[in-house]
């Protein structure tokens, strides 16, 4: 029986920016149904095409864009695209996922993947117009902000529906904390320095127009799954706060648990009241927005009507508020403006926030003096300094040139023990909340394949399961105990990582599918309906186990990439501060550290659950073969990197 193309576009597009060569290749449906899409495609091609000999800024590094398999269909909240490259911050696997319409445009133009290699001799942009692919001069765009670039492209191409990707000035200057932005400031491939890779290729933007249909195999099955999805989110208590506050909603939990991580991850308590979600909602938000196809409406754009930053209109999400607190700043307008600057300059808010906090602590402790900072004091809580340092990083000015390298590299340059203040994992700055007092939370930051990433590891499953479910799914009732549980946590983490990877294969938003108030709702959305949507769109018959396995497969490819770069168990670690210093605060985690013994025990169980060597964390041949990755097993065996 002939396989149907379903919702796939049907081709890969490869562009060599050094030679100008454009290649198109048919999509193999066996490949598609095995790797699914999004992260599955990107990670596989990165492994195959970027060996350890290639450095992140070498022309031979790849920059790969892969819309999620369901992007372009009306599957709810299926609107995310993956970007993959070897990362200039971690030196290992790097990727990002963004909202925005560009990914659907690429599919409508006829391509499920865009692979960029080489480097242009001078600034260019890529124009993809259905089957027409051109490399064009970007001299007039170089230096523009993200929004300026997006608007200039739409104007010059005379089409306001054209989708774009671009870098801002930060990416042009190969700031390691630079991001790639989608459709102006609609979405961002924020982390792992992807913007710097794009800048190293002299690629300012990709503009795309597509007019082709995206097919669907079984409309009735799609509509049925759609109704069931709407039904689940209508009863899940997770959803109303998301619609009401957007991602600002995470504040209340942070407050009660006392895990702000303020002032460079030292304080659990903080004067958070000026940043109350109610303040953003009533004084600044324009409306409850959606990413494409999403019924949850948790996206937010804000406008500052008066004061120092009057007229600022920008998109802002939770991590901006969190990183502002990391720098001791609690002015809501400063937070919005910080988001505005990072959005326009093309910077990773998490990376920049943590790196400025690092600099502030170095200044506080005398490791940076007024000469290093050109006379600019760097106290925590000073929002003017916060903005000025952001600008300096974007343009590599003064101290900004050092900080543009990220907190780890900057710390190594500064020396004098500065590394202990660089809050990073594998070279990528910390995200989300403080892990002290919550054992598996700590491990989850260490095991993500792209550095600290709560979205990849999703330990929050421990919060919503009952002890019975802990026993049933993870072998121990303890898995449901956030503060004291040990048994079952490693298995929970492994399962949870595979679960959310499904979202990245299909292009599903994690807030719409992978956060929930109960395990039943979570599995219904994230496993069952996700699989049914894929099958309805593509005429396939993947089981839920096969879909979870596809998630496990992509994760293992990334792990193999990192292992091949030399990373083993020693890199699955979190900053020393969390082990050594007690969290200062009054919440349940107040006074806690991350217990090293518990950390290691959970990590042992996690490696075991993954089928990796428990001591070294290296993958076992049998595991890779079970996942259909025999060629990767052979490659690692040749390099003596099997577990």
């Amino acid at each position: 029986m002939a396989k149907r193309k379903g919702s796939y576009a049907g081709k890969f597009l490869r562009v060599d920016l050094s030679t100008g060569k454009v290649e198109k290749q048919d999509l193999d449906l066996d490949f598609a149904h095995k790797y699914i899409g999004g992260r599955g495609f990107g990670s596989r091609f990165l492994y195959d095409e970027v060996p350890p000999e290639v450095a992140p800024f070498d022309p031979a590094n790849r920059l790969i864009f892969t819309p999620g398999a369901l992007f372009g269909t009306a599957v709810p909240a299926a609107s995310r695209t993956t970007a993959t490259a070897k990362s200039p911050t971690t030196g290992m696997h790097g990727d990002g996922h963004a909202s925005g319409r560009w990914g659907a445009m690429l599919k409508s133009a006829g391509y499920d993947m865009l692979i960029l290699q080489g480097a242009a001799p001078k600034p260019v942009y890529l124009w993809v117009d259905n089957e027409k692919v051109e490399i064009r001069d970007a001299g007039s765009l170089w230096g523009k902000t993200t929004m300026e670039t997006h608007q200039a492209l739409q104007e010059s191409l005379r089409d306001r529906e054209v989708g774009t990707l671009c870098i801002g000035p930060a990416g042009e200057k190969k700031v390691r904390l630079a991001s790639i932005f989608c459709d102006g400031i609609t979405g961002t491939f924020a982390r792992t320095g992807l913007g710097a890779v794009m800048g190293s290729k002299n690629l300012k933007a990709v503009a795309t127009r597509g007019t082709r249909d995206i097919g669907i195999a079984d409309v009735a099955a799609f509509k049925k799954a759609y109704q069931e999805y709407l039904q689940v989110i209508s009863v899940d208590p997770y959803v109303p706060p998301a619609t009401k506050y957007g991602t600002c909603r995470f504040m209340y939990h942070r407050v009660k648990f006392g895990i702000h991580g303020a002032k460079n991850w030292r304080l659990g308590d903080f004067d958070w009241k000026p940043l109350d979600p109610e303040v953003f909602r009533s004084d600044y938000q324009i409306k409850a927005s959606s990413c494409p196809m999403c019924p949850v409406r948790c996206r937010r754009e804000y406008r500052i009507p008066a004061g120092k930053y009057a007229g600022t209109v920008t998109k802002m999400e939770w991590e901006t508020i969190a990183r502002s607190m990391t720098c001791g700043v609690n002015d809501p307008e400063a937070a919005i403006y910080f988001s505005h600057l990072c959005n326009q300059y093309g910077l990773d808010i998490e990376g920049v926030g943590d790196t400025i906090a690092f600099a502030m602590e170095c200044y506080e402790k005398g490791l940076l003096n007024d000469q290093d900072t050109e006379g600019l004091p760097l106290p925590f809580g000073d929002s003017d300094v916060f903005m000025e340092m952001t600008r300096k990083i974007a343009f590599r000015e003064g101290l900004g040139d050092l900080l543009a390298e990220g907190s780890l590299r900057a710390a190594r340059k500064i020396g004098k023990g500065a590394e202990q203040f660089a809050m990073q994992v594998k070279g990528s700055e910390m995200s989300a909340a403080d892990p002290r007092g919550m054992p598996v939370r700590a491990v989850s930051y260490a095991t993500s394949t792209r550095g600290s990433d709560h979205l990849r590891s999703n330990p929050y499953v421990e919060e919503l399961i009952t002890p019975e479910e802990g026993l049933q799914f993870f072998g121990s009732a303890e898995a449901a105990d956030i503060f004291h549980g040990l048994q079952g946590k490693g298995r929970l983490l492994a399962w949870s990582e595979n679960l959310v990877t499904i979202g990245d294969l299909l292009g599903l938003c994690k807030f719409a599918y992978y956060r929930s108030a109960t395990l039943t709702y979570l599995r219904k959305k994230g496993v069952e309906l996700a699989t049914r949507f894929y099958n309805a769109c593509n005429g396939t018959r993947l089981s839920e186990e096969e879909m979870l396995e596809a998630g496990e497969r992509a994760f293992n490819i990334e792990k193999a990439f990192n292992v091949r770069e030399g990373a083993g168990r020693e890199k699955d670690i979190i900053p020393e501060r969390f082990f050594k210093e007690k969290l200062v605060g009054t919440g349940p985690s107040g006074g806690a550290v991350v217990d090293r013994q518990k950390f290691d025990l959970i990590l042992d169980e996690y490696y075991g659950a993954r089928g990796w060597n428990e001591k070294t964390g290296l993958q076992k041949k049998a595991t890779l073969e079970r996942l259909g990755l025999k060629d990767i097993a052979e490659d690692l065996a040749r390099r003596k990197r099997l577990g």
Partner: protein, 210 residues
């Protein structure tokens, strides 16, 4: 008043209806969220595939955070019908509106140029004009809008109601002209219909606002 096909159809088939965007400004989630689900469900209903270029309803982004869905106003004396040189825009057999007869349409785009609302769509593959026909009476966009801001409304016969609607549109435009944004990015912002924003405006100091 000139004779048209549409006018005579109106008498026999009851009230004209159209899909309208209705927001409730005091409810932040009863405003178009910009999700564009309407576009994809429209193309799915009409073509069996997903393609926003073939959607008869279009979500128009006016600015960051301002998105307005627009579609055919089912005019009683349609400009598109008058402009068509092939008489390809004809009364619908069952409903009180006009529709494009694909067999007669030559893709000349006269109707697209004529429509004052800019809602005639050009199918890039078939190279013909497309127009909303209310999905036979149960519009897919209305059914699937997650924010429930699309309604199937009766075309008001009352001139007074239509006058008010038009005045409200002009009021929004006037408010736009009064906004002056400081800062490096000269992004024009139109106020949404949110009452919140107009309350904000009245609280602002007059200096630095022009």
């Amino acid at each position: 008043m000139p004779k048209t096909n549409a006018g005579s159809a109106g008498k026999t088939k009851g009230l004209r209806r159209r899909v309208l965007y209705v927001s409730l400004p005091d409810q932040a989630d009863r405003i178009c969220s910009g999700c564009e689900t309407c576009q994809l469900m429209c193309s799915l209903q009409n073509t069996g595939a997903f393609n926003p270029k073939k959607s008869r309803i279009k979500v128009v982004p006016l600015s960051v955070g301002i998105t307005i869905p627009v579609t055919c106003q089912q005019c009683e004396d349609p400009w598109c019908q008058r402009a068509c040189p092939e008489k390809a825009i004809v009364p619908h057999k069952k409903m009180n509106l006009v529709a494009v007869d694909e067999k007669k349409c030559t893709g000349c785009m006269a109707c697209i140029g004529a429509c004052p609302y800019g809602i005639m769509v050009y199918d890039p593959e078939k190279k013909k004009a497309l127009k909303c026909d209310l999905c036979g009476g149960d519009p897919a966009c209305v059914q699937y809008c997650p924010s429930k801001v699309l309604v199937l409304a009766d075309h008001p016969r009352s001139a007074e109601i239509r006058r008010q609607r038009f005045a409200a549109i002009l009021a929004n435009e006037e408010a736009t002209a009064r906004h002056n944004i400081a800062g490096a990015q000269q992004i024009k912002i139109l106020p949404s219909t949110m009452t919140q924003l107009s309350i904000q405006d009245s609280k602002q100091p007059t200096e630095g606002r022009r």
